[in-house]
Structures are given as structure tokens and as C-alpha cells.
Amino acid sequence: MFYREAGDFKTTYREDSQTFPIKFDRLRFYAVLAVAYGVIPLFINDYWANAVFVPFLIYAIAAIGLNVLVGYAGQVSLGTGGFMAVGAYACYKLMTAFPEVSIFIHVLLAGGVTAVVGVLFGLPSLRIKGFYLAVATLAAQFFLVWLFNKVPWFYNYSASGQINAPDRTIFGVFVTGAQTSAMAKYMFCLVMLTIVAVLARNLTRGTVGRKWMAIRDMDIAAEIIGVNPLTTKMTAFMVSSFFIGIAGALFFSVYLGAAEVGEAFGIQKSFLILFMVIIGGLGSIFGSFAGAAFLVLLPVLLKNLLVGALNWPTDLAAHIELMIVGALIVIFLIAEPHGLAQLWRVAKEKLRLWPFPH
């Protein structure tokens, strides 16, 4: 009834090729934006920002980044944590070396640095495929974490080996450091996520995205019809690492404030983000959001339920949480291997026909 292309006539090419061709989609998109920018900042407090919204926004950026690589280009990567660490440390070095430059630019530059590193570690993907590649990207994960641990230059020779985000402002409002308000954190991450999501959405439906998908579906066939595997795979690694680097920079500077590389960017992080992408749906930007939201909210809910409501000891609750997360992942994969995005697609199809299904 609502979700219908009928009567929505396009009279120009511009209209025909817009991001959301269906009117209902477009309106919904503006509504989500309005709520995210206009309503949530009014009500946000420290608990909601730190436990739910800021991690969700940052993980969504990382999940979009990984989805570009795994979902669109078909190159399985387990090095996400390492690439996030590159973003974080690049951001830290830039912040401390050029204090007068805006953090906004630093975060983008950190993404750029990560893109270069990503391309470097992506090069073997031309020879290595499938699971061999997945395991090969673990080399990036372990090597990078080791590097940031062992080379003191990266953490400015601090005694603890940690990196601490100095106070930085945008338009006079603190966005990093201890004095940051919940709203500032939220807005900064939200702006970044919006940029990333719009970029990703438009890249994936353009020439670049089609090449990625051709390589994903069958790389040899794609090569034969004239898709250059070198540039295609490298752009995928570049764009993906750029986003993941931004996520890493935000994760360290805005969310954590202080980070120790092994703990904040270990292999667990790589798996977590891969889970988000798979549960959300491979090859779907909406799926990245859904997956990030699901895996950020689930532990918060479980903790509140087990420790808060049932009063069980925290270590037992942590183990049970692990069990439930694991079981849910398996159940999800069995029930809907194409992720939450597929559920959404099915729902949309139903909506189109409602109230007269055939």
C-alpha cells in the first residue's frame, strides 16, 4: 500500500538515477536522518551515548568498510582489527604532531593512511583466494598489532605503551578528551557515518561497485569481459580500509579516549565486525547498520537481563553471554543466511503487495 513504485513517474535522467528511486524509500531516509540529527541529540545522555549510540555509529562505519570488501568485492578479510589500529595510531600521531589542524581532517587523513596500508596487505589477494586469503589477512592483523606494541615511536615513547587522545575541538566544541559532552561525541560520529554511508552507497551502485561485484561473482569471468582484477581488487581494499581507518580513528579518539593496541584492536574485533557484516547481510549497506545495531545492543541487553534482573555473578553472566551470542549467530545463519537485510527485503516485498497479496 505504502511501498509502491506505481504513480511515481520519473521525467528526467537525474530523477531516474537517484539513490532512492522509490518515493517511500526516499521519505523514510529523510525521516531517519531527521530523527538522527534532530531528535536523538536532544535526549542523549552519557549512558546512552557510551553504551549504545557511539559504539553503534563507529561499528557501523567499520561494518560498511568491511562489507565493501567482503560483501561487494568478495575478498574475505580477518584483518579489520589491525586496520582499525592503523587508523587509530595514524590519528594519534597526526593529532599530537599537528595540534592546530582540525581533528576532522586528521580522522580523514587517518583513513587515507589506512587505505595505503590496506592496499599493501591487499596485494597478495591477486594470487591468493578464498580461505587462503582470509588466513593471509590474519598476517596483517598480528603483524600490525605487534608493530604498534613494539615500536615506541608509534605511541610517542609513553611509559605505559598506551595512546591517549588529547583534547581537540571542532567549532569550539570538545569532541575528544575528558570534557566531551555526549552530544558532541554522538554528532561527530554521526556526521562521519553519514559521509561514509552516502559515499559507500553511491560507490557500490556505480561503475566501481559493479566491477567489485563482477569480481566477487566470478573473478576469471570478470577478467575475461575486461574488468581489471588489479585495479578492482585494489580499489576495494583501498575504499574498505579507508572506512575502517576512519572507524578506528573515531573508536580510539572519541569513544575510548585511551587505547592499548592488543586489547582494543585484537583479533576479537576482526571477528566481531565480520559477524556484523554477515548477520546484517553481505553486500548491503542497510545490512551493515542492522548488523552493527544487533551486535551492539545484544550484549547490553543480556548484561542488563542477567546481572541486573537475575542478579547472577558477572563472570557467569559473561560466559552465558558468550553462549547466547554464539548460539544466536548459528541460529541466524540457519534461519536466514543472507542476513537481516534479506528479512528487510522480504518485508518490503510483502509491503508492496499488501493488502492484496496474490
Binding site: 594470487r127 587462503y132 598480528f142 558468550l322 551470542v325 540457519i334
Partner: protein, 328 residues
């Protein structure tokens, strides 16, 4: 002989022993990958779970004691008996077979014909679940595993090398036992897959699922069988690693150590797992010995991966992997 050379030889020997331990874990991966095309990330957690169960049975722990106590407010910990090692190992093996059946019934059966990445993620989900389950069942504290394997430095080897080179090599007794066990295990597996009816069926399934189905081999039985064998291999690996460094969470991380071994040896080859393990073991120990002091140490975390990565660039299917043939 110069001291440095002797040290290097000792490091090499120790590396070989460590390689055997890696190969033990890698073996479980290869078995499952060959028979079902599933890249089983849960293998390391299976080893942890097996070791936890073994200790739990041996010491007569009450399963789920922590959970029961939290719900009822009691103070249960142990039944108050101990079980002999051999019986405990047999019981644990039975538990692993049960686990294999449960995994097949609840998970794998529903995921037939899914993309490999989905199956891989499912095994990661299982790994999370088992990790939590093992901890809830047996408690998360570090446990000591003792099934009567010899501990400490081998005096025979030390005496022997001392009489030849004038310098005694330090080799762990446990590592020697592990080597012997690994050789026995590989021999037994090879004999089983070459000469028994089930073994032949196993190889048929590994070769071609559909053809195997059409000549009347039950795929589900083979899957249960292969997961049971993998569970048994995990038990052996769990005993070895558990006796060496205690039963704790970090035991499940040996899966990560086995991955570069697999890459190097090829996912589909049992000899590959052994040779890959040895190369990785020697390579990372020698690298740490030679270059570690220069660049800050702890290179063992990543060296294996980088070695395997460089290797793969030249031979994308690993040392002994089947040649990857692609058609459009």
C-alpha cells in the same frame, strides 16, 4: 663446534617439537575440511573443551556447579571422587562423539549447500558457544592437567648430546611424547582411511559429495564420523597442550597457531599439515632466535603468518594442496 651453531641446532630441535604440536591441531582442521569442505574454526575450542572435560571428569567436578550455585544458592563443587586417567580419557572421547552428533543434528544438517563463508561463520559461532559452555560447565579457572605423561627436561637427550657435542640439549620430555603420539596418530589415521570400509567411504565423500551419495554412502554418518575423529584429535591435542601449559582459555588460541600451518601445507593434505607444522615450528623459533633480539622479540605472534603469506604468493594452494583449477 661453535656455540652459536649448537644453540641454533637446539633451537631447531625445539622448533621441530613445537611444530609437531601445531601439526596436531592442524590435523583436525584438515580432516573436517577434506570430508565436508568446512573450515572449522572451532577446532581450537574443541581442544579446550576436551581438556576441560577431561580434567573435570578426572577430578570429579560437578558440571554446571557455578550455575547451579547461582540459581539455588548452594555450594557444590566436587562429587568427592577421582577417576583414573584412562577411564577419564575414554569417557571424554565418548563426550566428544556425543558432541559431534549434536553438532551434526543441530547445526550442520541445516546448513547443507550454503556458501563456505556461511559455514565458516557458523563454526565461529559454535566456537563462541562452546567456549562459554565449557566455562559454564566446568568453571573458568586455570586447571592443571596430569594424565601421567612425563614432565621436565629429558635427561637421556641431554646426556646423549653432551657426549657427542660436549653440550647438552634441553628438550622437554613432553615434546618427545607428543612427537611419538603424533606419529602414532597419523599412522592410525592413514591406516584407517586406506584400509577400513568407513575410511574408504570417507575418502569417497572427500572426493565428490554427490558421487558418494549416489553409490549409497550416508553423508550424515560420514559427517558424524569425521567430527568425532576431529573431536578425538582435539582431545589428543588438548591433553598435550593442557599438560604443557595448563588448561585455560588461551588453549583455544592454538587454533590461530594452526592456521598458518594449514596455509603452508594446504588445507586438504594430512602430510601437508605435518610438514607445514614442522616448517612453521622451526621457522618461527629460528627467526626469534636470530632476529628477535634485534627487532624487539615476540615475533612468534606474526612470523608464521608472514612466512605462510610469502610462501602462498608463490604457491597459492600450499605445499601439498590440490591444484586449484578454475573454470568459467
Amino acid at each position: 663446534m661453535p656455540d652459536q651453531l649448537l644453540f641454533a641446532m637446539e633451537v631447531t630441535l625445539n622448533g621441530l617439537m613445537a611444530g609437531v604440536m601445531y601439526a596436531l591441531v592442524a590435523l583436525g582442521f584438515v580432516l573436517i575440511y577434506k570430508a565436508s569442505g568446512i573450515f572449522n574454526y572451532a577446532q581450537g575450542v574443541l581442544a579446550l573443551f576436551a581438556a576441560l572435560t577431561l580434567v573435570g571428569i578426572q577430578q570429579g567436578q560437578v558440571p554446571f556447579a557455578h550455575l547451579i550455585n547461582a540459581v539455588t544458592g548452594g555450594h557444590l563443587t566436587h562429587f568427592g571422587w577421582t577417576v583414573p586417567s584412562v577411564l577419564a580419557i575414554i569417557l571424554t572421547a565418548a563426550v566428544m562423539v556425543g558432541l559431534a552428533i549434536v553438532i551434526e543434528k543441530l547445526v550442520l544438517k541445516h546448513l547443507v549447500n550454503q556458501a563456505p563463508i556461511i559455514l565458516f561463520m557458523a563454526t565461529i559461532g559454535m566456537a563462541y558457544f562452546l567456549e562459554g559452555f565449557g566455562d559454564v560447565m566446568w568453571g573458568a579457572d586455570i586447571k592443571k592437567l596430569d594424565v601421567g605423561l612425563p614432565q621436565g627436561i629429558s635427561e637421556t637427550v641431554e646426556g646423549l648430546t653432551d657426549s657427542i657435542f660436549g653440550y647438552g640439549f634441553f628438550i622437554d620430555n613432553l615434546d618427545i611424547v607428543a612427537t611419538v603420539v603424533a606419529i602414532l596418530l597419523v599412522t592410525a589415521l592413514t591406516l584407517f582411511s586406506q584400509y577400513s570400509k568407513q575410511g574408504r567411504a570417507l575418502r569417497a565423500v572427500a572426493d565428490d559429495h554427490q558421487a558418494a551419495l549416489s553409490v549409497g554412502i550416508s553423508l550424515r554418518f560420514i559427517w558424524i564420523l569425521v567430527w568425532s575423529i576431529a573431536g578425538f584429535v582435539a582431545l589428543v591435542a588438548g591433553i598435550m597442550w593442557g599438560s604443557k601449559s595448563g588448561v585455560q582459555f588461551s588453549l583455544s588460541l592454538i587454533a590461530l597457531k594452526a592456521l598458518p600451518v594449514l596455509m603452508l601445507g594446504g588445507f586438504t593434505s594430512i602430510p601437508g599439515a605435518i610438514v607445514g607444522g614442522l616448517i612453521i615450528g622451526v621457522g618461527e623459533k629460528l627467526f626469534e632466535f636470530l632476529a628477535g633480539p634485534l627487532i624487539g622479540g615476540a615475533t612468534e605472534n606474526w612470523f608464521a603468518y608472514v612466512l605462510a603469506l610469502i610462501f602462498l604468493v608463490f604457491r597459492p594452494q600450499g605445499l601439498f594442496g590440490e591444484k586449484i583449477i578454475e573454470r568459467v
